[in-house]
Each structure stands twice: as C-alpha cells, then as structure tokens.
Amino acid sequence: MANQRSIWARYLSWLAGLMLIALAGCASKAIILVPDPLGHVGRAEVSTSAGKQLLAKAGDMTRISGSSSPPSAVTTAAPEFIAATFAEALAVEPEPPQTFTLMFEAGATVLTADSRNMIAAIVTAIERRSAISVGISGHTDAVGSDKLNDALALERAQQVKALLQQQGVKPELISVTSHGKGNPAIATPDGVPEPRNRRVVVIVH
C-alpha cells in the first residue's frame, strides 16, 4: 500500500516536472554576438547546467530553453529578429565614450604643447554631449617605485582636472583616479621605461 502510494507520488512529481519543462520551453531566450561600435566582434561562451555553446562570429545566436537543457546549436540571427526584439534597448544605447590621451614632460606635471591644446577639445566634447561623467585617470610606466609613480600619476590627473575646471567644467562631473602601472597603453615587463604609458586619459561619457 505504502509502496503503491510512493509510486503515485513519483508519477505525480514526474508529471509536474514534465509540465515545468514544457513551461520553461515557452520562455525562449536568445543570446546573440554582434559587432561593437568599432566593428570588432568578440567571443562569448554560453553555459547551462546541461552544456555550453561558443559564439564566435557576427550574428551567432544560441537559444536557451531552461537551466537543465543545453543551449541550442548556434544559428545566425536574422536582422529582422534583432530589430524587432532589441529596438528599444538599441535606441537608448549610450553614445560610445570619447577618449583623450594627454602626455606630459618627463617627470613633471607639465603638459606637452600638443596635449595643452587638447584641453579645449575636451571641453567642447563635454558641452556637445551634455556629458554626465568625465573620468580622469593617471597612468605610469613600469619604472621606479610604485609609490612615486602613483603619486605622480595622481598629481598629473589632478592637474588636468584643474585645467578643465578653469574652463568651466563642473567639478561634480569629474572623477579622478590613479591606475598606476596597472592599465598600460603598451604592455611592458616590469622596470622597462615606456614614455607612451606616462599619460593621463580623459574619458567623456
């Protein structure tokens, strides 16, 4: 008797499971790799508990029909499907940021002449875009003590902030950070001098 009841319980739970799978099957989800604003196509690996798929070329799409089903085989997304499904999200995509790289005289907080002229262009970009954030980051090469480099990078970034503020940029838009040697433009081994890494990067969003 007890045995029979447990068979029924098992049957019912199996039936419920089947219905859940059917419901999950209705909830179709799609993941599509597309070119970025610069035309570059990256890569993405999509996993569920039951398997994974690699998206590697423009338009590659996999569909997900539940955590216990593997992602579907990769197909190519139709442009009409992309337009119909993602129109709202694509319409509010933030404009890609504008990036300015400023160089300094060696060991000093004095901008090179070319970079000094760039300040006006940065101010124009901030006004044209009605920017909501201006990120200023100081960077160094991999020579010298971290402490000294970080301090110099920060001082240079502060210098750029002061110049932008003098031109009327609101201080509350600006954030200043030092990346030290952790985010080089040109990767080098430790201890190698690289003038192109001694810079301040201004990113206008």
Partner: protein, 148 residues
C-alpha cells in the same frame, strides 16, 4: 507614542540601506532614460533619471514603456528595453591594486551589452547571469533576451 516609536524604527530599518550607500563608491550612471525607469537600492526605490548615480548591488528596472542606457566607470555599457530588470551584483575596478569584478544579472527583458576595460584587463572576472544560463564574455557586444 509607542506606535510612533515603532514607525520610526521601521522607517530607519527601511532607510538604512540607502544611508549605508552614502560613503560607497559610484560605479556608474544612467546615461539615457525613457518612460518608467527606477533604481532599487536596498529597500528603497528611487527614480532612475538620466545622470543618476549607480552603486554596487543596485537593480535597474524599466516599465512599459521604459528604457535605460547605463555606463559603468570601466566603460561597460548596458542598455535595456521595456519591462526589463538588471542587477549590478558585483563590481570592482581598481587597476592600481589589480582588483576587478563585474557580475551582472539580467533578470528579465532585453539587453544590449558592450564590454569595458574590466573584460579587457581581467576577462575571467566578468560574468553575466540570466535565470537559466551563464555567459563568459570575452568582448565585445552581445544582445541578450530574457523572457519571463
């Protein structure tokens, strides 16, 4: 009196997560907002207007009609269509200390996601979760649909 004290206590409990954010670091901003957009921070719901600052743990919700475009401080860009919900589960961008983390949870809706400097510098620290799948993104732009 007792009721007033209790109401005050409840108000403090509800508001506490919002106060706790005061010293926390801004991780990004809402750049574009259309229609109904809100930010859930702890127990508080705030309007999600263009220019609003975002913190780790925030959830950005859109109504119908509604849409929002977000930029994080590492240049990650995420935009979402109507009836969408995004949770900024974890975030760290500190190249000087070599600390990176980016965990996004796309709970429902439609999303366009463009990777930023975290994926460039430390791709293994970036994860996107949907209710059923995990996406390891190695750049640079993905469209993600999550239906309820």
């Amino acid at each position: 009196m007792k009721i007033a004290a209790r109401a005050f206590l409840i108000a403090m409990l509800v508001a506490a997560p919002a106060f706790a954010q005061q010293g926390a670091e801004v991780i990004g901003h809402i750049q574009n907002a259309q229609g109904a957009v809100s930010i859930q921070r702890g127990g508080t719901t705030l309007p999600g207007a263009a220019g609003a600052a975002l913190y780790r743990g925030d959830r950005v919700r859109t109504g119908k009609p509604g849409a929002a475009g977000i930029v994080l401080t590492d240049d990650t860009s995420i935009s979402q269509g109507s009836s969408s919900e995004l949770s900024l589960d974890d975030y760290a961008f500190d190249p000087q200390e070599g600390k990176f983390a980016l965990v996004l949870r796309m709970i429902k809706g439609t999303f366009s996601y463009i990777t930023g400097q975290i994926v460039k510098l430390a791709p293994e620290s970036a994860h996107v979760h949907t209710p059923d799948a995990t996406i390891a993104v190695r750049g640079t732009k993905l469209l993600i649909q999550v239906q309820e």
